[in-house]
Amino acid sequence: MSAESRPELRIIGFLCNWCSYGGADTAGVARLNQPTDLRIVRVPCSGRMDPMFIAKAFYGGADGVLVSGCHPRDCHYSEGNFYARRRLELFLRFLPVLGIDPQRFHYTWVSASEGQRWQQTVTDFVERIHSLGPLPQLCESDPAMKQLAQCLGGGE
């Protein structure tokens, strides 16, 4: 199926400024064709990733969320991606509790020189989300959802 003929899904990528954002730039400079579904939010470091950002994206209707940082041991801030890995790994297991299929979330490492790896990552992830289809509407009347809505809405 050609990427152009199907309706786009809402996919957010959180990319660290140093490695993965640079990798996405490298892919661009090399004109590596990618599906257009993904929109990138630049963060200084994958260690900046509060899992709440991802939860909020899903509750806002994102069909998929991708986080990418520097390869372990390559972090510009020496250990930010280790914190990211620990938090995101936990969050991945917590997703079913939130009512989200964990397959809709992926975290990975792409360096600034790995344009092709980024192209592959995006293509694979977008394909995966398309195979899952749009995120089912979350049931607002569910008391657990209401509770969560309150929690998530509480923080700034």
């Binding site: 152009e4 786009e8 809402r10 957010i12 400024n17 140093w18 490695c19 954002y21 640079g22 996405a24 730039d25 892919a27 661009g28 400079v29 004109r31 590596l32 064709n33 990618q34 599906p35 257009t36 929109r39 990138i40 939010v41 630049r42 963060v43 200084p44 470091c45 260690g47 900046r48 509060d50 709440m52 950002f53 909020k56 994206a57 509750y59 806002g60 209707g61 994102a62 041991r73 390559d74 972090c75 510009h76 801030y77 020496s78 930010g80 914190y83 938090r87 360096s111 600034a112 020189s113 192209q119 509407q137 979350l138 607002e140 959802m145 809505a149 998530l152 809405g153 923080g155 700034e156």
Partner: protein
């Protein structure tokens, strides 16, 4: 708030696959947008002037530019915005080139995506606050890592300009690969005559502290205030006492220690000075070969040493140095040619590498400058050079060109004729790449004056026959198989990243490329900088480079350091974390996670513990912000609000989760 939006065509780079006018039109209906337009080249002078004009005309408080990557022009536009009288942080960029126009071909989908990215930038800008930089003092000292020709040049340039330089070299002498060379192309002047005096300059310069036989163990801090931990390896010789007389070397009974300087063409003693012109000229004991250190029996060198310098008990010592900037000049490694089994390297003694041949040509080398076959010591008549051994070959993971092998092969072929006038050299090559000054002329001289025969084609096999080596390959210009009987085969081994480069990159928190070379800040505009402020690159550690290019880049790196220190005080990036003292409960989780130790505990007036950020130490990663259970510590310019504003621009919350 009144926001101005500029959609850049970037010539046809963006406009070719994005409807820029439509994006500008869409931007006009975004919240707080008072003005939106599209322009041909927003980064050009008229483009920037248009921004300044719009700020006055439309009384704008903030600017969004949708164009290329912020890694390219964020600083450019921040300066523009500042010139327009706004705070430089009241600016946001949407990347619609690298992330949109260059990677998607569907104009409609691209335009929608560009609108989304612009919308995200507008939403983020709505939450931006003006930020102010702070000044701090810098340590006006520079650490140069690596004492090859690039490191030497960088160190001397900095030192001559009045900076204190700490030069750290892994080997027991500086000089690097260049010190191993016999002659240099295209002038064919003697390598050590060029380099030797520069090495002496390093040793004698009052502003240079040289740590030879030392490694970088750790580097902490940030631009202007680094602290380097240097491990001085045990040489088992007290260098303060050693005069470099070399008597120990003569008497040492261990005669089979590997001679690394001569590329294993010869052996050396367990205690040795690598070569007579070494700087510093000090002896080092090879702990893996020394009888005394292994068995406890021997001690000849200690008995013979006239200055009582031998110290078998010596330990590694750790030194710390404070510096304000770092220049990496760790050079390159050479490809392991044994991967090419068909060339028989390692099996046939008369197949050697280019650097081994270099040692053989050198008058100070193991053969005293006589070219001889390693197998029987006879003078070779037919010498075959094979280029691109570990260069431009995807199958061995080295798809890149090593840059200078064409030239050194021509030089070695010319020198062969000088050494053995009745010899014949053949060069098997793919293409000849000789773009430097005087380089192409040099190749022509090799062919025309020295009669070197160039055969365009790859070698398929080398095998021994009747005391010769038969080199079989293709001549792709003739369209025929060729076979040459060779007495000696020299493989032009390709360049790879230096051993240990990866570990050093981790220590310094700079990136490397796919092949382990250090990654420059930008391939065109920041070839000397890294993405870590205050860390610069010189020479082949960034990619294959010949001597002139290495020296040029070393001087450029030195100029960058001088430029950095010329400012007197450095200004800190205001994208640092700040603590909301009312929310902070003093749990200090932020301090525990901070990789830089930038958060300290203070007491408020009531005596309760609170966190406080030391602004000049904070590097702006935001790990603390993601850690704080209270949301009390926020990273300026990347606050929770700002990131969520971008998320919300894309995903309109359907559960009333919008915090606004």
């Amino acid at each position: 708030m009144r926001i101005g939006v500029f959609i850049c065509h970037c010539g046809s780079n963006i406009a070719g696959t994005v409807d820029c006018e439509a994006v500008a039109e869409a931007a006009r209906s975004m919240p707080d947008v008072a003005f939106a337009t599209d322009s041909m080249y927003t980064c050009s002078e008229p483009g920037q002037e248009a921004i300044i004009k719009a700020v006055t005309e439309h009384r704008l408080d903030g600017i969004v530019v949708a164009s290329c990557t912020p890694r390219m022009h964020e600083r450019t536009f921040r300066r523009t915005v500042e010139r327009a009288g706004l705070n430089p942080y009241m600016f946001e960029m949407a990347n619609i080139r690298e992330h949109v126009s260059w990677i998607g071909r569907d104009k409609k989908a691209n335009t929608t995506k560009a609108v989304d990215l612009t919308h995200m930038a507008v939403e983020k800008l709505r939450h931006n606050r003006p930020l102010q930089s702070k000044s701090f003092a810098a340590t006006r000292r520079v650490l140069v890592i690596g004492g090859g020709v690039a490191g030497i040049q960088a160190a001397l340039d900095c030192a001559d300009a009045g900076l204190e330089v700490v030069l750290v070299e892994r080997n027991s002498t500086i000089g690097g690969k260049m010190a191993q060379l016999d002659k240099t192309f295209p002038t064919v002047d003697c390598s050590s005559c060029v380099l030797g005096p520069r090495m002496v300059d390093v040793a004698q310069h009052p502003n240079i502290t040289l740590y030879a036989y030392s490694d970088i163990q750790a580097v902490s801090g940030f631009v202007g205030n680094f602290e380097a931990t240097i491990r001085k390896k045990a040489s088992y010789v007290d260098w303060d006492k050693c005069t470099g007389c070399g008597e120990c070397m003569e008497k040492c009974p261990v005669k089979d220690a590997p001679d690394e300087f001569n590329e294993h063409l010869a052996t050396t003693r367990a205690i040795n000075i690598p070569f007579p012109q070494a700087i510093p000229k000090k002896a080092v004991i090879d702990a893996s070969r020394c009888k005394r250190l292994i068995t406890g029996k021997c001690g000849v060198c200690a008995k013979i040493c006239p200055s009582d310098a031998i110290d078998y008990e010596q330990q590694d010592t750790i030194i710390t140095e404070k510096v304000g900037a770092i220049i990496i000049a760790t050079g390159y490694g050479l490809f392991d040619h044994k991967v090419y089994g068909q060339y028989g390297a390692g099996r046939f003694p008369d197949v050697i590498t280019s650097i081994q041949y270099e040692r053989m040509l050198s008058a100070s080398g193991p053969t005293g400058g006589h070219v001889q076959r390693p197998s029987d010591g006879k003078e070779p008549k037919n010498v075959v050079f094979i280029q691109c051994v570990g260069s431009r070959d995807k199958s061995v993971g080295r798809p890149y060109c090593s840059g200078f092998c064409c030239m050194y092969t021509a030089k070695q072929a010319i020198l062969t004729k000088d050494h053995i006038p009745d010899s014949q050299s053949y060069v098997f090559y793919m293409d000849i790449r000789s773009p430097g000054k005087g380089y192409d002329e040099f190749i022509r001289r090799a062919v025309e004056e020295y009669g070197v025969r160039y055969v365009r084609g790859r070698v398929s096999r080398i095998f021994p026959q009747n005391g010769h080596l038969v080199v079989r390959g293709a001549d792709t210009l003739m369209g025929a198989q060729v076979q040459v009987e060779a007495d000696l085969v020299v493989l032009a081994v390709g360049v790879e990243s230096a051993p240990g480069a990866k570990e050093l990159a981790e220590t310094l928190r700079v990136s490397t490329d796919t092949y382990g070379f250090f990654l420059e800040g930008h391939p065109k505009l920041k070839p000397v900088e890294t993405n870590t402020a205050g860390v610069y690159l010189a020479g082949a550690c960034q990619g294959p480079k010949d001597i002139p290019a290495s020296v040029s880049q070393a001087s450029a790196a030195a100029a960058k350091v001088l430029g950095l220190f010329a400012k007197g005080e450095l200004t800190s990036d205001p994208q640092v974390a700040t603590v909301d003292q009312r929310r902070c409960v003093g749990c200090m989780k932020c301090a525990k996670t901070c990789p830089f130790g930038a958060v300290k505990e203070v007491e408020d007036r009531a005596g309760d513990p609170k966190a406080e950020v030391v602004e000049t130490v904070c590097q702006g990663c935001g790990i603390c912000s993601a850690t704080c259970p209270q949301g009390a510590i926020q990273l300026n310019h990347f606050t929770d609000d700002q990131i969520l504003a971008e998320v919300n621009a894309l995903c309109q919350p359907n559960l009333g989760l919008n915090s606004e």
